[in-house]
C-alpha cells in the first residue's frame, strides 16, 4: 500500500467555519489500483456533513472500491494501491497523523451481507465500545447498547433476548443490528455498502427510514444499485461509471435533469 500525496497544499480544503452542511470528507484525484488493474481513475468528491450521499452506477464501476477507501478497508486487500488524497475534516486519512484503526472508529461501516459476530446481541453492540474503552461501567455499557439499538430501531424487537445470539435474528434484523453496532462507537461518518441488497422490501423500508433518521447525527455515504432507494434516502448522488465519477449533484437534479448522457442512460435504465 503506497500513497502519493502530490496534491499541492492549497488543494486541502479547510473546514468551513459556518454552514449547516460543512464538508466532512473530501476526495481529490483518488486512483486505486488492484495490482496492475486500475479500478478508480481519479475521483473528486465532497461529502457534506449530516447529509446522505448516494453512490450509484453499474456493477464494477468502482463505487464500493471508493467507499472502502474512505475508511481504509482497502488496506486489508493484498496488492491494492491508493493514490491521491482523501481527507476527513481536512486531515489526510492516509497521512501520518491518522491511524487506520482510529479512522475506522470515526468512519464506521455497514456491509452488503449482514455480518453479526457469532456472539450475543448484547456483545455484538458492546464489542466496539469495549475495545475503545468508551464505557467504564456496566451501567454505562447497558446504556450504550440500549441507545444504539433504539437508534437502529431494533430495541423493541430484541430487548427481551439480548443474550441470544445475533446470528439467530432475521436478515433485516441482523442488518439493523450491524447498523446499531456501527453507531455504538459513535462514528462521525457511516459508510453503507448496499445495505439492503440481501433484504426483502419491508426490511428495506425499515432501513431506509432509519438512514433518514440517522442523518441528523451522522454523515452517511451509501452505495446502492436501487435507483429509487438513492432517490428516497439521499440528498446528494454521485454517478460512477467505469472507474470515473461522471456526475455529482443534488439527488433531485441527478434524477430529473442529468447533465451527462451516461447518467441519463443509466437512470432511465437504458444500460447498467
Amino acid at each position: 500500500m503506497s500513497v502519493q500525496t502530490h496534491i499541492p497544499a492549497t488543494a486541502m480544503p479547510s473546514r468551513p467555519a459556518a454552514g449547516i452542511h460543512g464538508t466532512k470528507m473530501v476526495a481529490r484525484d483518488v486512483k486505486v489500483f488492484y495490482g496492475a488493474k486500475q479500478a478508480l481513475k481519479g475521483i473528486n468528491l465532497e461529502i457534506q456533513e449530516n447529509r446522505v450521499m448516494a453512490l450509484i452506477g453499474p456493477s464494477g464501476c468502482g463505487k464500493s472500491t471508493f467507499l472502502r477507501c474512505l475508511n481504509r478497508m482497502n488496506d486489508t486487500i493484498e496488492n491494492c494501491r491508493v493514490e491521491g488524497l482523501i481527507a476527513l475534516d481536512g486531515e489526510d486519512v492516509y497521512g501520518k497523523n491518522i491511524d487506520a484503526v482510529q479512522l475506522r472508529a470515526r468512519v464506521g461501516m455497514v456491509f452488503q451481507k449482514p455480518n453479526p459476530f457469532p456472539k450475543s446481541i448484547y456483545d455484538n453492540i458492546a464489542y466496539g465500545p469495549r475495545i475503545h474503552g468508551i464505557a467504564s461501567h456496566r451501567d454505562e455499557m447497558d446504556e450504550i447498547v440500549q441507545t444504539s439499538l433504539q437508534r437502529a430501531g431494533l430495541w423493541n424487537e430484541v430487548k427481551d433476548r439480548l443474550r441470544e445470539p445475533g446470528t439467530g435474528l432475521s436478515g433485516g434484523q441482523q442488518q439493523r443490528l450491524c447498523i446499531a453496532r456501527a453507531i455504538a462507537v459513535s462514528p462521525e461518518v457511516i459508510l453503507m455498502d448496499e445495505p439492503c441488497s440481501a433484504l426483502d422490501p419491508i426490511a428495506t423500508a425499515h432501513i431506509e427510514e432509519l438512514i433518514d433518521e440517522l442523518r441528523e447525527n451522522y454523515t452517511i455515504v451509501i452505495v446502492t444499485h436501487n435507483m429509487q432507494q438513492a432517490a428516497r434516502v439521499s440528498q446528494k448522488t454521485a454517478f460512477f461509471h467505469l472507474g470515473d465519477m461522471v456526475e455529482c449533484d443534488d439527488t433531485e437534479e441527478i434524477f430529473t435533469n442529468p447533465r451527462d448522457e451516461r447518467t441519463q442512460g443509466y437512470i432511465t435504465g437504458r444500460y447498467g
Partner: protein, 421 residues
C-alpha cells in the same frame, strides 16, 4: 376444436432410454460405494477382532495358592525361595523325588520370592506365622491354563512336561490355582518374564513424550499458522515457506528421528532414550500437521467476520484474537489432537534416539530412560515367549483405547465449540 397432441422431446422413447441409463449409472455408483464401505468395515472388524481375540486373555493371569510358613531362620537369611518352594512341595504331596521337585520349581513365577519378601518387609509381624498367599504362576502354566499349550501334543514337542501337567492337575483338583484380573499389566514396567511385565513404564514414557510435544508444537504451530494466514504478506518467500511446510508434513518420520539424533543428541548432548528428546523430535514431526490444520481452520472463517471487526475499529491483532481465532479453534483443536494421536502411535523416530530399549523402571522425569507404547508393542512382538503374544495384543488394545479417547475428545471439542454463522 381439436388440439394436436404433439409429444415434447422429453417424452420421446429415446429420452426415456437416456433417463434409464442415467439412473442405472447412479445405481451402479451407489452399489460400488456400498461395497467399498462394506469391504472397509469388514477389514476393520477383522483387524479389531483378531487383536481382541488374541489379546483379551492377557487381562487374566493364573495364580497359585501357597501356605507359606515364614519361619524366622529363612526370613533372616532372606531365603524366600526356600519358603516358597517348601510351600509348593506341600501343595503337591505326590512329588517326592528331587527330579520332580526341580521341575515343580518352574511352576511359580521367578518373581514369587520377591513378592513374598516385599510382603514381609511391609508387615514384619508376619514372621513366624503361616500365611495363605496367592502368587503369580509362571507364564507357561498361565498359558497352559488358558489352553494355549495343549495336552494332546507329544511330550517331546510340548513346552510343559508330563510331570508339570500332573502337578497342575493336582493343584486344580484342590482348588489351589485360580485366574484373576492381571493388575501387573497395568502397574509394572517391562520384564523378561511375561507374567511380571507391564505396560505402565511405556504409558508414562508416552505421556511424558506427548507433554513435551504438546507444549512445544501447539503454541508454535498455532502462532505460525496465524502469522502466515493473517499477517504475512503473500509473496515468493511465504509461498516458499508454505511449500516447505507441506513437504515437511510428508517427510518420513524416521528422517525426523535422524535429525533428532544428529542435533539433539549429537550437537546438544541431550540424554539418550529420554522422553525430552522424544518429545522434541515428535514436536518437529507434528508441527507441519498442526500448522496446516490451523491454516485451513483459519481460512474457513468467513472474511465478513474480519471486516466486521475491522469496521468497528478493532486492530488486526484484536480481530484475530477476539473473533477469528475463537471461530477457528474447533478446527485447530481437531488438527492438533489428530497430530498428537499420530505422535502417540509413532515408533520410527524413537528408534533413532534410543527410546527402543529394555527399560524395567518406570520413568520419573523427562530425562529418565523411557520407552513408549508403540515401541513396547514392537519389543513384545519380538519376544519368543507365547505369553508375550497375548500381551502384545493387549498393549495394542491399550494404545487403541488412548487413540480412540483422543479422537473422541477431538470430536467432542469440535461439537462443543463449533458455531454457525
Amino acid at each position: 376444436m381439436s388440439v394436436a397432441v404433439t409429444k415434447s422431446r422429453y417424452q420421446s422413447e429415446e429420452f426415456s432410454a437416456r433417463l434409464r441409463r442415467r439412473y442405472a449409472a447412479e445405481r451402479r455408483f451407489r452399489i460400488a460405494g456400498m461395497v467399498a464401505v462394506g469391504i472397509a468395515s469388514l477389514m476393520l472388524v477383522v483387524l479389531l477382532g483378531s487383536i481382541v481375540s488374541k489379546g483379551y486373555t492377557a487381562f487374566w493371569q493364573a495364580q497359585i495358592r501357597l501356605e507359606v510358613t515364614l519361619d524366622k531362620q529363612h526370613v533372616e537369611e532372606r531365603n524366600y525361595t526356600a519358603i516358597v518352594r517348601q510351600a509348593l512341595y506341600a501343595q503337591v504331596p505326590a512329588a517326592t523325588d528331587r527330579a520332580t521337585r526341580r521341575s515343580l520349581n518352574d511352576l511359580l513365577s521367578s518373581g514369587a520370592p520377591y513378592e513374598l519378601e516385599a510382603m514381609v518387609n511391609a508387615n514384619p509381624s508376619l514372621v513366624g506365622t503361616t500365611q495363605t498367599v496367592w502368587v503369580r504362576a509362571d507364564d507357561e502354566i498361565d498359558q497352559f491354563m488358558k489352553g494355549f499349550i495343549r495336552r494332546d501334543v507329544p511330550e517331546s514337542e510340548r513346552r510343559l512336561n508330563d510331570v508339570k501337567i500332573a502337578a497342575i492337575d493336582a493343584l486344580v483338583a484342590n482348588g489351589s490355582i485360580r485366574s484373576t484380573f492381571n493388575t501387573t499389566l497395568f502397574t509394572a514396567g517391562d520384564s523378561r518374564e511375561p507374567e511380571q511385565a507391564g505396560i505402565l513404564g511405556a504409558v508414562v514414557g508416552s505421556a511424558l513424550t506427548l507433554v513435551v510435544t504438546m507444549l512445544l508444537s501447539v503454541p508454535i504451530g498455532i502462532a505460525a499458522a496465524v502469522y502466515l494466514e493473517e499477517f504475512a504478506p503473500k509473496n515468493r518467500w511465504t509461498d516458499l515457506i508454505e511449500v516447505n511446510i507441506n513437504n515437511l508434513a510428508a517427510v518420513p518420520s524416521i528422517i525426523f528421528g535422524l535429525l533428532g539424533l544428529a542435533v539433539f543428541l549429537g550437537f546438544f548432548g541431550l540424554p539418550r532414550s529420554a522422553p525430552l528428546v522424544g518429545g522434541l523430535v515428535m514436536a518437529l514431526m507434528t508441527l507441519p500437521v498442526i500448522i496446516i490444520a490451523s491454516r485451513v481452520a483459519l481460512k474457513a472463517v468467513p472474511p465478513s467476520i474480519r471486516e466486521a471487526a475491522l469496521g468497528v475499529g478493532a486492530s488486526p491483532l484484536q480481530t484475530v484474537t477476539h473473533h477469528v481465532l475463537p471461530l477457528a479453534l474447533p478446527g485447530i483443536l481437531t488438527g492438533t489432537i489428530i497430530g498428537m494421536a499420530r505422535a502417540l502411535g509413532e515408533t520410527a523416530p524413537l528408534l533413532m534416539i534410543g527410546m527402543v530399549a529394555f527399560i524395567v523402571d518406570i520413568p520419573g522425569g523427562l530425562t529418565d530412560s523411557a520407552t513408549a507404547i508403540p515401541v513396547q508393542i514392537y519389543m513384545w512382538a519380538d519376544s519368543p515367549e507365547r505369553a508375550f503374544t497375548e500381551r502384545t495384543s493387549a498393549a495394542i488394545m491399550i494404545l487403541l483405547a488412548f487413540l480412540i479417547l483422543m479422537n473422541g475428545l477431538a470430536v467432542f471439542l469440535r461439537k462443543k465449540f463449533e458455531r454457525r454463522w
